[in-house]
Point group: D2
Chain length 346, copies 4
Amino acid sequence: MHNFQCDYTEGAHPKLMAALMQTNMEQTCGYGLDPYCEKAREKIRAACEAPNADVHFLVGGTQTNTTVISAVLRPYQGAVCAAQGHIAVHETGAIEATGHKVLGLPCENGKIHAAQVKAYFAAHFASETAEHEVQPGMVYISFPTECGTIYTKNELADLHAVCKEYDVPLFIDGARLGYGLADPNCDLTLPDVAKLCDIFYIGGTKCGALFGEAVVITNDKYKCDFRYMIKRHGGMLAKGRLLGIQFDALFTDALYFAITRGAVDSALRIREAFEARGIEFFGSSMTNQQFPILTDAQLAFLSRNSLPEFWADAEDGKKIVRFCTSWATTKESVDTLVEDIANMPI
Amino acid sequence: MHNFQCDYTEGAHPKLMAALMQTNMEQTCGYGLDPYCEKAREKIRAACEAPNADVHFLVGGTQTNTTVISAVLRPYQGAVCAAQGHIAVHETGAIEATGHKVLGLPCENGKIHAAQVKAYFAAHFASETAEHEVQPGMVYISFPTECGTIYTKNELADLHAVCKEYDVPLFIDGARLGYGLADPNCDLTLPDVAKLCDIFYIGGTKCGALFGEAVVITNDKYKCDFRYMIKRHGGMLAKGRLLGIQFDALFTDALYFAITRGAVDSALRIREAFEARGIEFFGSSMTNQQFPILTDAQLAFLSRNSLPEFWADAEDGKKIVRFCTSWATTKESVDTLVEDIANMPI
Amino acid sequence: MHNFQCDYTEGAHPKLMAALMQTNMEQTCGYGLDPYCEKAREKIRAACEAPNADVHFLVGGTQTNTTVISAVLRPYQGAVCAAQGHIAVHETGAIEATGHKVLGLPCENGKIHAAQVKAYFAAHFASETAEHEVQPGMVYISFPTECGTIYTKNELADLHAVCKEYDVPLFIDGARLGYGLADPNCDLTLPDVAKLCDIFYIGGTKCGALFGEAVVITNDKYKCDFRYMIKRHGGMLAKGRLLGIQFDALFTDALYFAITRGAVDSALRIREAFEARGIEFFGSSMTNQQFPILTDAQLAFLSRNSLPEFWADAEDGKKIVRFCTSWATTKESVDTLVEDIANMPI
Amino acid sequence: MHNFQCDYTEGAHPKLMAALMQTNMEQTCGYGLDPYCEKAREKIRAACEAPNADVHFLVGGTQTNTTVISAVLRPYQGAVCAAQGHIAVHETGAIEATGHKVLGLPCENGKIHAAQVKAYFAAHFASETAEHEVQPGMVYISFPTECGTIYTKNELADLHAVCKEYDVPLFIDGARLGYGLADPNCDLTLPDVAKLCDIFYIGGTKCGALFGEAVVITNDKYKCDFRYMIKRHGGMLAKGRLLGIQFDALFTDALYFAITRGAVDSALRIREAFEARGIEFFGSSMTNQQFPILTDAQLAFLSRNSLPEFWADAEDGKKIVRFCTSWATTKESVDTLVEDIANMPI
C-alpha cells in the first residue's frame, strides 16, 4: 500500500540520518548553542542572502507559530490571516492560549490580498471605538497555503507594503516552503521571500527532516530576546544540535531544494494523470498537495493500492481527497498511482 | 577533553539510533497514533505495573511540565513545589505563561515534606481570606531533585497521602527518574512510583534518547482530553513515532534501567574519588549528578582533562561544580577523572 | 439635545442613588460579604424562583463574561456564540486573553439555533482529528441579542437541551435582560430564564444602576470556588456593598421590571413613529434598541434635537442608526423625537 | 462598635456623593471620554506638575495592577517586588493570569532597596543561562508599603536610577498614596513621586471615593494604546464619568490631601496612646495603618468598643493586629479607642 495521506509518513532523508548517526557520540553543549547549529545558521543566511538575519531552530510548527506570534504582538493585538489559515483552525487554540485572537479574513484558494488587508487595517484605525476591538498587529500567511496555492512576487510585495504602511510585521508560515518554491509557476526565490517579509520559517518536518523548523528573522525590530520566548514556550530542545545537524545537511549542496523539487514533480505527474481523465480539482495547487474531486467508485478503485486523505465533501456525493508527495515518495508509488488513475472508472 | 557538564551532551543510545535507522523509510500515521507508540505504551504500562494508565509522549521537559500542570489545575490554582524546583526557577516563566503561580516552599536538599505541605494546605483553607490568595491545586516534586537527592518510599507515601486528603494530584517530574531509581539507597521501584502519585513522567532526553518524555497518568481523574492539551501546547510531534520507537527500545530488555544504573555507578566512582581526598559536597546526591566543593587550584587541575559545570559560589572562595554522568559516559572518561582527582592539590 | 446613543448616558435610578446616600456612612465589611449583598442575593433568588442559585455581583459586562467563561471552560475549550456576539467582536480580545477561542457561528438577527449548535458539536466530536481543533465547551448567547431580538421559550429550551446532551453549560449574557423580558412578544419570565440555562447574569449597568451585573449560577457544577475567579480577574470590588445596595433596590417592589418596561414602551413609541412614515429597520427588535434605516437628510433633520448612534452603512447611501431608550428616557425626549419623525422628509 | 478593620468600610466622602447626586441625570458619553474625566485628568496633571502625563481611571486595585503590569512587560518578563508585596501574595494570581511571574525579593519593613534591585538585575544579565529564567522587566513598589512604611526621596531616587540604568519602568502602587504622603516624616511631594517613577496610581477607593484608581503615566514609552489594555482587562467602566466626577472632587481644593492628612493624624493619636502604654509595634508605620502587638487580654478589652483586624501571630502568644483609619474615621471613634487603650490591662 502506498501512503499519500501526508508529507510526514516517513522518518528523515537518508543524508540527514547519516549525519545524525555520524555525530551521535560527539559531545556538544545544549540548547542550540553548538557548532552544528551555528553552521546551519550560516548556511541558511547565505541561502536567504540575508547576512544579518537571526536564525532559530524549533521542533514543530504549532510551537513555532505560537512563539513567533506571541513574541511580536502586544497583548491587545491579534494576527490577521485567512479564515482557513492553519493558526485559525488547526492548532487547538494554541494562539489564543497565548492571549491573542486570530482575525480571519474571507479567502479564496487559501490566500488573502493586500487590498483586503489594507481595508481591514484602515477600517480598524478609522473606527471611533477601535479600542473596543482587537487591534490587528501582524499579518500571517502560509506559503504555500493550506490548499497548496502560492503567492506571486507581486502579491507578496503588495502585502508587505501594506504591512510596512501600518508598521506591523508580515510573518510567513513556511512549513512547506520548499514545495511552494518548487511550483513551476513560482516567480519567487528564497532570497525574495526573505526580503518580502519580516519573519518566516523554513519547514523541515515536511521537507526531509525528522522534525525541525528554522525561524528566520530579517527585521531587527523583532530579534530582541527571542531565545527567552523559545524557552518560555517549551521550544528549547536540550540536544539542540539535532536541529542544527539536520538543517546543515538540508542546506548543503541545496539538498532542501532537490528534495522539494522532486516531490512537486511527482505531484504534478499525479495531477496530469487526473487531468487526462477529466477530473476536477479543489483549488489550483501546483505544489506537493493535490486535491482531486472523486466519486466513491473512483476512490475505492484507487484505494486498493494508494491511500489518500479525506479532505471534504463536494457536490453530487463526490469527495475531495488529498494526495501528498514528499522527499520520500518513490517512483514506484507514483507509477502505480498514475496507472490506477488511467484505469479508474469515470 | 571529557565533558561532564550535563547529561545531554551526546545523541542517543546506539540501540535507539539503530531502531530509528531501521524504521526510517516505513510509512506510519502521525501524531503518536502509530503502532510504535502503542507498543511503547504497552511496555511502559507493564514496567509500571499500571495496566490502566494513560501514556503520552512529549518532546521535552518544559513542554511536559506546562502541559501537565495546566491540564490539572483550575485557573486560580497554583503548583506547590520546592522553592528551588525546576518549574520555579529554570523555565523562563513557562508555568506562569499558562496563567498559574508556582508556590515555592522552603526546602532542604531539594525536597519538600508531607508535614510541610499539609501545613500549607491547612493554612490556606483555614484562612478567612483564602480567595484572595492562589489556591494550592497540586504538588510538584522532582525525582531525583535538582540537587540529585531522592525521596524514600515512606516520604513519598506520606506526601501522596496529604495530596489525597486535599484531593489534589501529586505530579512527579521524572526527567532523571532512572538515575534516581539507581541510587543505591533507593527503596522505590518504578511500580512504586506509579502507585504513589497521580501523574509522573519518565524522562528520555537525559536517559538515552535523542529527546522524549513519557507522561504516565495513573489517576483516571486527570486523563480526560489530554491530547487536546498536548496539541494546544505545541507538543504534538508530527512524526510522533520517533518517540514511540525510542521508548520502545528503552523499555525492551530493561535497557532504560541498565543505562541509568551504569551512569550512577560511574558517578559514585567519581564521588568516592573525591571523598578519598576529603572533598566535601553540596547536598548528598547518590545519583548521576555530583556536586563537589573545590578550590580554584583543584578546578584548574581537573579542567585540563575534564569539564564540569559551575554551579554556585561556596564559602572561602571555593566553588560548587557539577559533574554529570550519563548512559554515554565512558570508562575511559571516568578513569581519567578519577586519576586526576587522586592527584589534584589539596 | 436628547441623547439616544446608548442606555448608559445617565447615572442611576433615583431610588438607587437614595439608597447609596442613605447607607453611605455605615460601616460594613468588604468584598461582597456584607448584609446588603446578602439581602440582594435573597431577593434575586426569589425573583428567579431559584432558591439554591449562587449569586455574585461584578462591576461590568466584559469582566463578567471573562470571569464566567474562564471559570467554566477547560483550557482547550472555546465558547460557541453568534459570529456577531459581543464577546466575539467588542471586547478587545478579553476572552482570548484568558486563553480561550471564541467560536462564532453564522447568525441571523443575532441569534443562533439549537439545530445549528447541535450540528457543530456533532461535527466536532465525530471528527477523527478533533483534538487538532478547539473543543466547543459552552454556549454563549445574549438575551436580548446585540440587535435587540429575543429567543422564544421554545428556542431557549431547545438550545438548553442540546447543551445538556453534550454536557456543556448554556450561559446567557443578560446585560439588557430586563429589556428583553419587556418585549411584548416575549413568552419568557425571569424564572424561565433561570431554568433554561446554567449561568446567566442580570445586567444592572444598562438597567438603572450606576454599574453592576448579578451573576446567577443555577447549575451546581459551576459553583465551586467562583469567588477565587472573581478576585483573579480583578472583579472583587472592595466596597462590594455598593453592588448589593443597588441590586437590593432594583429587586424591591419589582423596580427592575418597571424600569425596563418603561424603556421598552418608549422605544416602541419611537418604532411606531418610524413605521408610520414607512421607514424600514435593521433587524426586528421590539426591545429598547431600535435600528431604523435613514437617509442623510432624515438623519440631519432628526439630529437637530435628538442624538442616535451610527451603526452601519446600508444600501443606497442610507445609514442604519441606533436609538436607545433606558430607565432615564423622559416623556419629553420621546415626544420631541416622535414629533420630529412625523415631520422629517421622506 | 467602631470598625478599624480597614480603610474601606464606608461609602464615599460626602463631597463626592454630592457631586454624583448633582450630576446624576446629566447625559454624557461613556468609557471615560466625558468632560468630567477630562477635567479630573487636568487637575491631576496639575497636582502632579506633570502636564504631559496620561491619566486613566480604573475601578479597583487588582485590575489596575494587572492592566499596568501586562501593558509594560514583554511576555517573558516578570515584575520585581518585595516578597510580601500585594501583587505577590494577595491577588489570587491575577498577575500570573496575565502570563507573568512575580519576582519577590526579601524585604524588611515592606521595602526593597536600590542596591538589592541592582544586584538582582546585574546577576540576571550576567548569567550565561539568563534565557532559562524570567527576565526582570519592571520594578513594582507600594507607597506606602503593605505594612505602612514609606520610601524617602533619596531611596526612591536611587531605585529609579537603577531602573533607568536597566531601561525598565518603576511602577508605584499608590492604593494608599495620600496616606503615605501624609506621614510626618515623608520628604516627598506628589510631584516628586510623579518625577521619580514611570507609572503610578493615585488610589481613590481607600482615600475617600466609592471606588476608583487614577493611573498616571509619565514616561512616554508606556503610553501607547493603554485604553486597549483597559478594555481587554475588563476595566473600562461604561459610565466612566463616575470616576471622573469623583477624582474631580478629590482634586478640588486639595480635598484628597485633607482627607489623608486627617486620617494619619487619627492614626498617630492611636499610635501615641499605645506607645504611652509601652506597647510594641510590627514595623514602623507612621501612616494610617497601625500594627500594635497585643495580648489576648488587651485585645478582648479593646474589642468591646473597637474592631481591629487580625494580622499575624507574634511571639509569646501575642497577636499583631491592624487598626486602620480613613477619611471617615470620626473623632468620637478615636477618642473611644484612645481612652480604652489608656485603660487596658498591661
